[in-house]
């Protein structure tokens, strides 16, 4: 059961237990991507917010947890898992354009899709949680938005009732005229 009502810190042990929680249920699933209708790029999609159920997180996180995603025209698709009113717990980025980075295993990547986890064991001097970059074996260079979501859901054990892979949405090609 979620922990009590008192404000408490998100301790590293609790966060790590949540990362490993299996399954993390998404009751409104299966998740579906929607097209950014004003853009022609097939990867320009967004993911509406879906509630995520957790039995591992403190109540104030667990009761408001959502997953959603949106497109940036220069950096691509980003996925977020966050309580509705607070900072993110997980992210996924389709690109990395700010030089190279090292993943949690010490491998160096340039522009490559990756996930961001909080590193609560290694907070910065300011108190801000560190970040760990994860490059799972299913990710690939220039990954499509649907595959990024698919790999992300599998890697972190999100269960949304899917029986097949996430698909890119069909894109509208013209607008309906008004009738006057």
């Amino acid at each position: 059961m979620p922990m009590g009502d008192q404000p408490i810190r998100l301790y590293p042990q609790i966060y790590e237990a949540w990362l490993a929680e299996k399954p993390k249920m998404i009751p409104g699933g299966p998740l579906e991507l929607r097209p950014v209708e004003d853009l022609e790029d097939p990867n320009a999609v967004f993911l509406e917010p879906y509630s995520v159920i957790s039995s591992k997180l403190p109540k104030h996180y667990a009761e408001k947890l959502i997953i959603f995603g949106h497109h940036n025209e220069f950096k691509g698709f980003k996925i977020w898992v966050t309580p509705k009113d607070y900072d993110y717990l997980l992210m996924a980025h389709q690109t990395h354009l700010d030089g190279s980075f090292f993943d949690i295993e010490g491998r160096e990547f340039d522009n490559y899709p990756h996930f961001h986890e909080l590193d609560l064991y290694n907070c910065r001097p300011s108190g801000e949680p560190g970040t760990r970059r994860i490059v799972s074996s299913e990710l690939y260079c220039e990954i499509t938005s649907n595959d990024l979501l698919d790999v992300f859901l599998d890697y972190y054990h999100f269960e949304d009732g899917r029986t097949d892979r996430v698909r890119l949405p069909k894109r509208p090609t013209h607008r309906q005229e008004k009738i006057v």
């Binding site: 853009l39 949106h70 220069f74 950096k75 090609t173």
Partner: protein
């Protein structure tokens, strides 16, 4: 007059802010400029400068607002124009753009504006399958039209289904407008998607009243209008809502075996 301790802190703040503003190349010849500020998700606020010198948010702000299912509230937010003016923001409907003729102060106002904006709107998470009934209806249209009523080419079929699943606004003579959730080929038809089946009783009743208002208003002007309600199961709604739906519209229940085909027929027949 600052004392040495105050001076030291001031210089450190200035240094921290200046050093946190960096840039790197992104796609399409643009650069990304990082800022010292965090947005509502705890992520650094970034802005982009295009090769033409336009400063934008790359579509992040409206993208987030759409993704949080808050676009309707955003579009009708009464402070929107004042906010845009105050924070030096123009918008083309996709992205936020720094206003033309902006002075230096506007750069910071713009950054603050785009970081604050999504926080004004409450995300509306999908918590149950029933919240997605409108999407379910649209998927049914896509699947059945592709299988049973394809056009000459796949592209034309996509164009056809796209034209059907768009909402249609009908502007009435008195200046009001009503919305059909779908766009049937026969233009005197209106189709309303009735959802919220698992909401509270009062929410269901209110939803039905709001939906039925559209055909009622249109019929006042044009008695020949044909109105249809698409829902999963009419038993999900309170008795007075059922009565209202049946009185003002023809009800199509998708739970019934013939419901889907009848629905598509209404949508595509001339």
């Amino acid at each position: 007059m600052l004392n040495p301790e105050q001076q030291r802190h001031l210089e450190r703040i200035q240094k921290a802010i200046c050093e946190s503003v960096t840039s790197y190349d992104v796609t399409k010849g643009a650069i990304c400029v990082t800022t010292p500020f965090l947005d509502w998700k705890g992520a650094p606020v970034e802005i982009f400068i295009t090769s033409e010198g336009r400063i934008t948010d790359g579509g992040d702000t409206i993208g987030q607002i759409k993704a949080l299912r808050a676009k309707e509230e955003f579009d009708s937010w009464p402070f929107l124009l004042d906010f845009f003016s105050k924070y030096c923001i123009d918008s083309d409907g996709i992205r936020m753009i720094l206003s033309k003729d902006s002075d230096e102060n506007c750069y910071l106002r713009f950054i603050q504006g785009i970081s604050r904006l999504p926080g004004f709107f409450e995300p509306k998470p999908i918590t149950t399958l029933s919240d997605r009934f409108p999407e379910t209806v649209k998927n049914i249209i896509i699947e059945i039209v592709e299988k049973k009523h394809p056009k000459d080419t796949p592209k034309k079929t996509v164009e056809f289904t796209t034209s059907l699943i768009k909402p249609r606004e009908v502007i009435l003579k008195r200046g009001y407008s009503v919305i059909s959730d779908l766009s049937p080929i026969r233009e005197s038809r209106m189709i309303e998607i009735i959802s919220h089946a698992k909401a509270t009783k009062s929410d269901r009743a209110q939803h039905v009243r709001a939906k039925v208002f559209n055909p009622v208003l249109w019929k006042l002007e044009n008695p020949k209008v044909e109105a249809f309600s698409i829902l999963h199961d009419i038993a999900d709604y309170p008795p007075d809502s059922r009565q209202l739906l049946r009185h003002e519209t023809e009800v199509i229940e998708l739970r019934k075996e013939t419901g889907k085909d009848k629905f598509i027929e209404i949508l595509i027949s001339r």
